[in-house]
Amino acid sequence: MTSSDAAGRPVVEMTGISIEFPGVKALDQVDLRLFAGEVHALMGENGAGKSTLIKALTGVYGIDSGEILVDGAPQRFSGPGEAQAAGVATVYQEVNLCENLTVAENIMLGNEPRRFGAIDWRATRRRAAEHLATMGLDIDPSSSLGSHSIAVQQLVAISRAMVVDAKVLVLDEPTSSLDADEVARLFTVVRGLRDRGVAILFVSHFIEQVYEISDRMTVLRNGARVGEFPTAEITRAELVSRMIGRTMEVLDDLQVRTEHTVDPAQGSTPFVRAVGLGRRGGVRPFDLEVYPGQVVGLAGLLGSGRTELARLLAGADRADSGSLELQGRPARLRNPRAAIGHRIAFSSEDRKGEGVVGDLTVRENIVLGLQADRGWLRRLPGKQVDEIVDRYVRALNIRPADPDALLRNLSGGNQQKVLLARWLATAPELLLLDEPTRGIDVGAKAEIQRLVADLAARGMAVLFISAELEEVLRLSHRVAVMRDREKVGELTNGPDVGVDDVVELIASGGDH
């Protein structure tokens, strides 16, 4: 788009960056180049290492090997403050500002002009107003930040970053909570900064936005760099497939796909039918049916609204439009407890934040859902608890097979199995699985996939959400495709349906 590529030496050059966390190689020999006056997109699925790379650049994480050159000089920042002093500023996804302070205070915090040793508030407000003006933001600097929309707060955060005359601006998911108009406003500002020669590293899950704003992109997958591409020279389908990877997992003889040629939907009542169900700021109104014995896959990139859709069906969020029928009868899910009462179980993708109760034992975690459903007074008899726990520890091959171990001491895969056990113990008729296999090893993954197929074969309705399209296709009878918070299409799975068909649907947004 611009002439930046030929600008010679990059402002930031990261080479061979590796970072290892206990047991995980978060980054493996990753390179990244940023030039002045370009918008560079950092692409990759969740867990690909985007955030880790940003944190390596800004000094939040120390790097185990590799080199970071800023303006040609080797640098190792010990923290974001040092990085900022060297001209590398970051605006995080969650706006890192103080809502209870004024706009001016937020912008100038730590850089207030002083007079006789005290802060000169008039000058502070004047300077803040100047910075806001360069962003094209016409708001009162003495207004409280909390009174403005998230979009404006985002722009204030950028203004704050530019106070220190940043050469490099890192924007981590800046648009995740903005609507279309607000995104357009943000992009105007970003283009303005780019034209002033700032190098911008842009991280987003919204493919269209990346194509709209970026000049070049670096794609990561599983902590490694897949490649660096000029945006104009890579098609959407190519990008999606590079982000997802095409490596088929080595799996046992799961004959699921052949079984799935017969869709159990024929002629029965759907367990759940959503008509125009939606929630502002979450997911646009959608229609969806899941039949007993049917696995419906939900495909789409992260942030495409998959989770938001599942949360509406789980009573975790309340829908503000549309209607829901359960087994042919209208129903309203006010909270997760109500959903559980309707035999709906929801395994959240946020295993740590919304699943694991770390300081309780495996036993307590498994029976938590069932016990909560019974109420505190009717405690499950010890014998029954042991029976349930024993059954699931064995059936799901939970290791260590010690019901008294604290759940936080188990590996991610085994924690996931414990959470599945929690839900299965409530005897659900609809199982909503949001990324049940993310971040767990191949063996556990195969076990969970086999379990899902078995459960469906025994008549359970399953909504299976995964970023791995192979997995979705292997398990699902039907696949619903999400993009940009909207359900854009649905296809019936069959022997002739491949990953390419789904990728195409994601990339085209159902327009073809």
């Binding site: 590796s18 290892e20 185990d64 090997s65 789980a314 975790a316 909270n335 997760p336 407890r337 559980i340 929801f346 959240s348 934040g353 919304e354 699943g355 694991v356 109760v357 770390g358 300081d359 309780l360 307590e364 938590l368 859902g369 016990q371 909560a372 459903d373 019974r374 109420g375 505190w376 007074l377 009717r378 405690r379 499950l380 936080r408 929690r422 409530t426």
Partner: protein
Amino acid sequence: MSATSPAPSRAPSSGRLGTVVRHHLFWPVAALVLLLAVNTVFRPSFLRVSILDGHLFGSPIDILRNCAPLMLVALGMTLVIATRGIDLSVGAVVAIAGAVALTYIARSPDPGSAGTALTAMGIALVLALALGTWNGFLVSVVGIQPIIATLILMTAGRGIAMLITQGQITTVTSAPFKTLGAGFWLGLPVATLVAFGVFALVAVLTRRTALGMLVEAVGINPSASRLAGVQARTIVWTVFALSGLFSGLAGLVLASNVMAADANNAGLFIELDAILAVVIGGTSLAGGKFSLSGTFVGVLIIATLSLTVTNLGISPLVTPLFKALVVAAVTLLQSPVMRRKLAERTRRVAPEPKVVAR
């Protein structure tokens, strides 16, 4: 507030001694034993228990009787803290309960009868339960932070008690009512028996039903608990209601011990002692896992401490200082960081060099 407390350091001390030292009650119990030992050194007869008029008599019995109100308040506080809450209003509820009971007795035609005493206690307890329910409503339904929600009643409560007693220190004579705070049964103080009885009741209520587990689940991870269908709101509401009820009972015990309702001073600062007892007992203020037995030991430590100060002939005015020192010592010994440092110091092992992959 942080989500969970840091993992306890697993110092590889070996053998049975190591197991004992690592038990979560080791340091609190050690502190209690040390306090008793110090007292015995200064007054060799300290631990002696004799029988006088058919009652047990001696300093240990004094400790058990004096700790009863604090025990009751601290039990409720333990549950509240386990849900990530805090209840600052317990002292005010203590004052209100005492004021209501004694005012009722003073105005009744027959202050000395057992019926009057029982009715007075019943009214006071129902009111205390209502006050606890009010706190629970503010926290679980309205969503006010516990420290603020209970601060409301903490501030207003003593005023309410003053209204009830009309600014006087109400004193009455009622033998049946006096039994609760000053009487003996089977040789033991009734107050102690009541407190221990409530302790056993709470233990059964939390550990024989699923309440304890659900309380801990809500305290450890509220969002996960909600998604698992736990009625977090009801549970939080319940623990605040219980805290109010137990504080009311504590107020009755205190009022009956002195047979006077002092709206200004009854249960003054008892919320702080209760929080200290809970913390000494090893329940984290961040919520989650709670230890009733830990709270039990914590209460005994604080009660022993007050007696120690008197015993050593130190002015009671400086008791708070001593309390602070003991609390600081016990909490330091319990902190994972200090434990690790101590373990390193005693084993004289240099910290492992940081391995950097290059």
